[in-house]
Subunit: 313 residues, 2 copies
């Protein structure tokens, strides 16, 4: 049996046929249309194309899972609003169930990525797992007793919108000081640019060939590795804020594993070693209990398809 | 059938016989001894005394539940360390199970209070519930799908030790800026005293008969109700910090109900109305989903016994 996993993104919709070991055997990609009706049609087109391409009959499919970049009602199977796509109020489970007569499950993209890592990726074998995806924003995912926890009305697990510094930097969500404003790739880039403006001699200027618009999530990390002082202080500040954000989650969930995904997680062991050092200093409640493992995601861009398929049990 | 609920506190250990509706039919209280061995003996003495007093045979008891002020390993049934009592490493489940041949469950005091409110108190009927106990410190409890969630190795749900202002006021836990340092009764008293020192004409001085050492968790609230400006600004600051702390939990759990317990919760509707007002301004993620109900605890001092008993299913 196979499961169809669908990863709806801002640019493209990825479709994959996933087996029970989380392996993708066939994949197809469509451009993301920017309105609701075209969105529905593209999803159906993609499923049909995937099945044709794989030459697998519907009878060998046990369900369809979908990860969405925005608010969904996973109980009712409704895509509520995907703000960057202009999609709204799609009864996607009903529509696909009527067409294919298969169970359909949906969740948001960060939840789906977390489920993928917990079932088939770096957090496999752990029962309680928290994940931050460090990208344009900060997504969050929660696995409790091996199951995805989405919060009431599937509106929880918005871990990027927990405050780190109440009264801090204004956030797109309407509050101030959210984690997202300090540890997203966007925030790291802002921190890096600021440090460069304050240190015209920093090696970071050479790294971006003098063009500050070329700064990305790697700039500070790479220049810190070669000993640049300003780059190191950007990294230290970033590690502190990320470490504090993670320790807040430790005190709430005391997860067995904490997974970091998204672009920044490409720093791998360099990143996790620094975070482990930072968090080790904090002993609260660890008396006679093991520490949370801090690891990076391993499924990369496939996590969206694999995790969407993993919504079907 | 009855369950024995035991509430271990800093001053006294309360024992109660609890029926399946969460009603306490018999109660007895012992002074809390300050060492491990005397602690074990007092628990046994208390259980025997309770059964004798109630004139109920062991065959009518289905289990023993215990709430503890400190770190426990609820899986293994071990009281790990109760710092204020000097108790350490007690295999309480094993000891009581051998003596009474009954199932024994333990948890920490804030978890137990939350379970009591969710099963028999103000949050009855709600599946996902978060609680803050606003006392000397801030305790936290998490109910997911009607069940107590204690975190890995039963070391999670330390909601008072999530930071509100990273880099803020030093906390006893070793970090800075924890919720507890801003919204506990202790913190409210400190805020109140500071405001009084800055306003010698505040009505709060009359309320405490000129003696600043008489300030308690009610001072600012009561004087705010009669219109004192400085008292109102203490209350506003407190509501803001408590509201922000609660909204962080909303974004993580989106609970159906959020319960406030501990001394400060005696302010009832005056407190919850202000918090609802504060949190209403924040719209993130509420699109098409109901709001979290903000309520105060109703079981008072009995919550410890009732919740401990509720650990036995």
């Amino acid at each position: 049996m196979y499961t169809i996993g669908i990863d709806i993104g801002g640019m493209s919709i990825k479709f994959g046929l996933v087996d029970c070991d989380g392996q993708i055997s066939t994949k197809t990609v469509f451009k993301t249309p920017k309105n609701t009706e075209a969105g529905i049609n593209t999803i159906i087109l993609g499923i049909d194309q995937l099945l044709k391409q794989a030459n697998v009959p519907l009878s060998e499919i046990n369900g369809i899972g979908i990860g969405c970049p925005g608010a969904v009602d996973s109980d009712k199977g409704i895509i509520d609003v995907l703000p960057n796509l202009g999609w709204e109020s799609i009864e996607i489970s009903k529509i696909l169930n009527e067409k294919y007569n298969l169970p359909v499950k949906i969740s948001n993209d960060a939840n789906v990525a977390t489920l993928a890592e917990a079932k088939f990726g770096s957090a496999k074998g752990y029962n309680t797992v928290i994940m931050f995806t460090l990208g344009t924003g900060v997504g969050g995912g929660i696995i409790i007793d091996g199951k995805l926890f989405e919060g009431g009305w599937s509106r929880g697990a918005e871990l990027g919108h927990v405050t780190l510094y109440a009264d801090g930097i204004e956030c797109t969500c309407g509050r101030r000081g959210c984690i997202e404003r300090y540890v997203s790739a966007t925030a790291l880039i802002e921190r890096t640019k600021l440090a460069m403006q304050n240190d015209r001699k920093s090696a970071m200027w050479d790294y971006v060939l003098g063009d500050i618009e070329k700064v990305d999530g790697k700039t500070a990390f790479e220049c810190a590795k070669s000993g640049d002082k300003s780059a190191n202080s950007v990294v230290d500040g970033y590690i502190k804020d990320l470490g504090e954000s993670m320790m807040n989650m430790f005190n709430i969930f005391r997860p067995e594993a904490f997974v970091l995904g998204g672009g920044i997680s490409a720093q791998g062991k360099y990143l996790t070693d620094k975070l482990i050092d930072y968090c080790e200093k904090f002993e609260y409640g660890y008396h006679n209990s093991p520490r949370t493992k801090i690891i990076t995601a391993t499924l990369g861009n496939d996590a969206g398809i694999i995790g969407a398929a993993a919504l079907i049990e």
